[in-house]
C-alpha cells in the first residue's frame, strides 16, 4: 500500500470520527447536566429514538429541516418533563423508569413509523439531510481541511455546545446550583434553592439533547428513520459520561474516542470486502464500551446524590 492511500484512509477515518462522535456528544453533554443534578436517565436510548422519529416525520412532511429539528427538541422537552415527573415528583426508582422509557421509545417509534410509512408513499422515505458546509479557505487546507471544515451544521454545532456547557456548569449560578443539588440536595434546599425545579430543568436539558442526538442520526447522518436507529448509543453515552468524569470536555474526548471505533468499523467494513465478517467490526463500539468501563478505577467524580430521590 502506498503512502498516499494510507493518508487518504486516515483522513476519511478521522473525518468520520467527528461525525460519528456527534450524536454521542449531544447525548452525553445532556446526560452530564442530568447526572450532575443527581438524576440518572438510562432511558436515553428511547428518547434518542423518539427524537430521531419526530425530526424525521416532520421533515418528511414539511421539507423543512428547521421544523424537523424543532419538533425533535419539542419531543425531547416532553420526554424530559415526563421523566422528571416520575423520578423527581413521584420519586420512583430512576433505573426502572429509564428502562420503561426505553421500551416506550422502541414501541412507540416502531408503531408510528409503521403506521405512517407502510402505505408505500416511498417518496417521503428519504430526506434531504443537513448538507455539509465547506468553510471557505479552511476547507482547502490539505488533510485537515476535509476532517475539520467539511462537515454539516449539526456537527459544527458541537464546537459551540461543549464550551457552552462547560461555561454554564462552571461560571453561572445555574451551574453552581446544579452541582450543589447533585452533591448535597439538602444543603441546596436549606440555601433556598428549589431542588425540584433544578432537577426538572437539568433532566429536560438532558432529554432534549438526547433527542437532538437522535435527530442527528435520522436527519444528518442517515437520511431516513430505521427502527432502533440509535443501536445502543443511548447506553454508550452513559459510559461516555463516566469516562469523561462528568465534565463536558471529558465527555467530548470520550465521544471522539468512541467515534474512532465507529469510524474504523465503517471504513474497515468498506475495505475488507468479505475478508473480515462484518459482525466482527460491528461489535467494536460495544466491546470498547466494556473495556472503557473496566479500565476506570474508582469513580471519584460521581455526584454523591446520583440516583437518589430527594425527600425534604
Amino acid at each position: 500500500m502506498d503512502i498516499l492511500l494510507l493518508v487518504s484512509i486516515a483522513q476519511s477515518i478521522l473525518a468520520a470520527t467527528w461525525r460519528m462522535a456527534t450524536p454521542l456528544i449531544y447525548t452525553a453533554i445532556g446526560e452530564i447536566f442530568t447526572e450532575r443534578s443527581g438524576v440518572i436517565n438510562i432511558g436515553l436510548e428511547g428518547i434518542m429514538l423518539i427524537g430521531a422519529l419526530s425530526g424525521y416525520v416532520v421533515t418528511s412532511y414539511t421539507d423543512s429541516l428547521f421544523l424537523g429539528i424543532s419538533s425533535a427538541v419539542l419531543s425531547g422537552i416532553i420526554s424530559g418533563l415526563l421523566f422528571s415527573l416520575f423520578t423527581v415528583t413521584i420519586k420512583a426508582n430512576q433505573i426502572v423508569v429509564g428502562a420503561a422509557f426505553n421500551m416506550i421509545g422502541t414501541g412507540l417509534t416502531g408503531f408510528i413509523y409503521r403506521t405512517l410509512y407502510s402505505g408505500g408513499s416511498t417518496d417521503k422515505l428519504v430526506l434531504d439531510t443537513f448538507p455539509s458546509i465547506k468553510i471557505p479557505l479552511l476547507s482547502d487546507i490539505p488533510f485537515f481541511g476535509e476532517i475539520l471544515f467539511q462537515q454539516n451544521l449539526m456537527v459544527y454545532a458541537t464546537v459551540v455546545l461543549v464550551p457552552l456547557a462547560a461555561f454554564i456548569l462552571s461560571k453561572t449560578a445555574f451551574g453552581l446550583y446544579v452541582k450543589a443539588v447533585g452533591e448535597h440536595p439538602k444543603a441546596a434546599d436549606t440555601s433556598g434553592i428549589n431542588v425540584t425545579l433544578i432537577r426538572y430543568i437539568s433532566t429536560t436539558i438532558g432529554a432534549t439533547l438526547a433527542a437532538l442526538g437522535g435527530a442527528y442520526l435520522s436527519m444528518a447522518h442517515a437520511n431516513q428513520f430505521v427502527e432502533g436507529i440509535a443501536t445502543g448509543r443511548g447506553f454508550i453515552a452513559l459510559a461516555v459520561v463516566v469516562f469523561g468524569r462528568w465534565s463536558p470536555w471529558g465527555a467530548m474526548g470520550a465521544s471522539l474516542l468512541f467515534g474512532v471505533f465507529y469510524a474504523l468499523q465503517l471504513r474497515l467494513q468498506a475495505m475488507s470486502g468479505n475478508v473480515i465478517p462484518y459482525q466482527f467490526l460491528q461489535v467494536l463500539p460495544y466491546l470498547a464500551t466494556l473495556i472503557v468501563l473496566v479500565s476506570l478505577k474508582g469513580r471519584g467524580a460521581e455526584p454523591k446524590a446520583l440516583g437518589k430521590p430527594y425527600k425534604a
Binding site: 453561572t172 445555574f174 453552581l176 452541582k179 450543589a180 452533591e183 436549606t190 440555601s191 433556598g192
Partner: protein
C-alpha cells in the same frame, strides 16, 4: 411562635407549642432526642410546613414556606448535620443563597473579599477560597455561621452545635455567641446538655414529647430542675459501676495503619491492648480515624499492622465471618446503614449474622419455627417494644432498633465487644438501658472497646480512656472525671499535659 402543631404519619412531633423569643437574647431550647426541638426549628426555618399555628416575627404574622422565605426574613440556621456542599468552596457555598438562576457569576471575587473581611471582623479565621472538604468540622461550623451572617441574619438558630466540638472549642463557641448577641443578634440554641444551658442562655424553654414543659429565666433555675422538666422524673445521672480487676489481654494491637475510602491514611500506627473485664474508651472528635479503626478491627477494610491478635491468636486479614467465630462482636456506628435491614422484620434482622448456621438454617432451609421462638425470647429479654417479631424494623423507634442490634450481638456471647457510638440519636430511657447492658457484659468477662464522641458516655462507662487525634492515640488516662479537662485538650490536638 404560637400553637405550632406538626404531625408525621406515625407521630405528633409538635403538639401545640408556643414559645416566645425576645430580641437580643440567647434562648435555649432544651429537650431529649425526639422531644420536637429540631422539628419546631425546621418549621421556623421553612423546612416543614406546620399543620396549624402561626409565626409572629418582629410584630408581624409571617408565612414561611421555604428556607428562602426564612432567609429573606433574616433568619439563619446552623444545622446539626452541616448543609455545605463538600466539593464546592466556602464562597460558592455562600453564593448558593443568592437565588439568581440565570446569572453569570462575575462577583465571586467580591463575595470572597466580603467574606474575608467578615471572617476577620468576627475572628472566625476562614479562608473563603478553601474547599469545604478540606476544612475541619469546627471550621465548617464557623463557615455555617459566617454564611448566615453574610445573608444578614438577625435571628440565628443553632441545632446542637457542640455535639461535634471539643470542650475547649465549645467554650470558644459559647463565648462567640455572647459576642454576637452583644452585636444585636438573637440566638436560639438547641441542646440537650444542661451545663451549656446554664453557661450561655438568658432564658430556656424545655420541651418534652412535643409539648412545652416550662419556660424559665436561666438565673432562676438549676440543672437539677431542668433535668426533671426534661425527662419528667429525676434522672440517674450516674450508673453504679463497681471497679473490677482486669484479666488477661484479649485484643492486642501494635502499629495499626488504616486508609480511609479515598486512600488517605486515617489511622497512623496505633497500639493498645484491651483486657478481659475491662472497658477501654476511645475519645475523640468525630472524623479523627475512629470509623476506620473500628472497620479494621472488624475485618471490614484492609489494614497493615505489626501485631494484631485476638484471644492470643494472630489475626491476618480474615473475613468478618471468621472473626465472628473467634468471639468478636461489632456494634457499628450507623444503625441504619450498617446495622440493620430496615424492611426486614425483627426476626429476620436477628438472624442477619447466623442465618446460614444451625439451628437457623437446616439443610439449607430457614428454620422458621426456631427463628421465631428465638426472636420472641430476645424481644422479651431485651425489652424491645414492638407489636411482634414480624414487625418491620423501619416501624420501630431508634432506641428499639438499637436494642434489636444489641440483642442480636450480645446473644452471641462476645469475648471481645467493639461498640461504636452505641447511643447516638437515642432517647434517654433506651440510652440508659443500653449502657447498663454494656456494663453487664464487662462483668461477664468480656473485653470491650467503646468508641464514642460523647465524652459523658466515655467517662461514665470506661475503665481507661485513650484519646485519638488525627489517627494517632495521643494520650491515655484512667476514667477519672477530674481529668476531663486533660482529655479535652488532647481531643483538640494539644499534646502537652496540664
Amino acid at each position: 411562635m404560637e400553637d405550632i402543631v406538626k404531625t408525621f404519619p406515625d407521630t405528633i412531633a409538635n403538639d401545640g407549642i408556643t414559645i416566645e423569643v425576645r430580641s437580643g437574647e440567647v434562648h435555649c431550647l432544651l429537650g431529649e432526642n425526639g422531644a420536637g426541638k429540631t422539628v419546631l426549628m425546621s418549621v421556623l426555618f421553612g423546612l416543614y410546613r406546620p399543620d396549624s399555628g402561626r409565626i409572629i416575627y418582629k410584630g408581624e404574622s409571617i408565612q414561611i414556606n421555604s428556607p428562602k422565605d426564612a432567609i429573606k426574613n433574616r433568619i439563619g440556621m446552623v444545622h446539626q448535620h452541616f448543609m455545605l456542599v463538600p466539593t464546592l468552596t466556602v464562597t460558592q457555598n455562600v453564593m448558593l443563597g443568592q437565588y439568581a438562576y440565570t446569572k453569570i457569576l462575575n462577583n465571586t471575587d467580591k463575595v470572597a473579599e466580603r467574606l474575608r473581611e467578615m471572617s476577620q471582623q468576627f475572628g472566625l479565621d476562614i479562608d473563603p477560597c478553601a474547599l469545604i472538604s478540606e476544612l475541619s468540622v469546627g471550621e465548617q461550623q464557623r463557615v455555617e455561621i459566617l454564611k448566615a451572617l453574610y445573608h444578614g441574619a438577625d435571628l440565628l438558630i443553632l441545632d446542637e452545635p457542640t455535639a461535634v466540638l471539643t470542650p475547649q472549642e465549645t467554650t470558644h463557641l459559647l463565648g462567640f455567641l455572647r459576642q454576637l448577641v452583644d452585636n444585636g443578634l438573637t440566638i436560639i440554641f438547641i441542646t440537650h446538655k444542661l451545663e451549656e444551658v446554664m453557661q450561655v442562655s438568658d432564658r430556656v424553654t424545655v420541651l418534652r414529647d412535643g409539648k412545652v414543659v416550662a419556660t424559665v429565666d436561666t438565673v432562676d433555675t438549676d440543672p437539677r430542675e431542668l433535668a426533671r422538666f426534661m425527662v419528667g422524673r429525676d434522672v440517674l445521672m450516674e450508673l453504679t459501676r463497681e471497679a473490677t480487676q482486669p484479666g488477661p489481654v484479649v485484643l492486642s494491637v501494635k502499629g495499626l495503619c488504616v486508609n480511609d475510602e479515598r486512600g488517605l491514611p486515617a489511622v497512623k500506627g496505633v497500639s493498645f491492648d484491651v483486657r478481659e473485664k475491662e472497658i477501654v474508651g476511645i475519645a475523640g472528635v468525630s472524623g479523627n480515624g475512629q470509623t476506620e479503626l473500628a472497620l479494621a478491627l472488624a475485618g471490614l477494610t484492609e489494614c497493615t499492622f505489626d501485631e494484631l491478635a485476638l484471644g492470643g491468636r494472630p489475626v491476618m486479614n480474615v473475613s468478618p465471618r471468621k472473626l465472628f467465630e473467634t468471639g468478636l462482636v461489632h456494634i457499628p456506628e450507623d444503625r441504619h446503614k450498617m446495622g440493620v435491614v430496615l424492611p426486614f422484620t425483627i426476626a429476620e434482622n436477628i438472624i442477619l449474622e447466623d442465618y446460614h448456621c444451625q439451628p437457623n438454617s437446616h439443610h439449607g432451609f430457614l428454620n422458621k419455627r426456631y427463628i421465631s421462638q428465638h426472636a420472641v425470647m430476645l424481644v422479651e429479654k431485651f425489652d424491645i417494644r414492638a407489636s411482634g417479631i414480624n414487625e418491620e424494623l423501619e416501624h420501630l423507634s431508634g432506641g428499639n432498633q438499637q436494642k434489636v442490634v444489641m440483642a442480636r450481638e450480645l446473644d452471641r456471647k462476645p469475648r471481645f465487644l467493639l461498640v461504636n457510638q452505641p447511643t447516638r440519636g437515642i432517647d434517654i430511657g433506651a440510652t440508659e438501658y443500653i449502657r447498663q447492658q454494656i456494663l453487664l457484659q464487662r462483668d461477664k468477662n468480656c473485653a470491650i472497646l467503646l468508641i464514642s464522641t460523647d465524652l459523658e458516655e466515655i467517662f461514665m462507662l470506661s475503665d481507661r480512656i485513650l484519646v485519638i487525634y488525627e489517627g494517632q492515640i495521643i494520650g491515655e488516662v484512667p476514667a477519672d472525671r477530674k481529668l476531663i479537662e486533660q482529655v479535652g485538650l488532647w481531643m483538640a490536638g494539644q499534646r502537652s499535659t496540664v
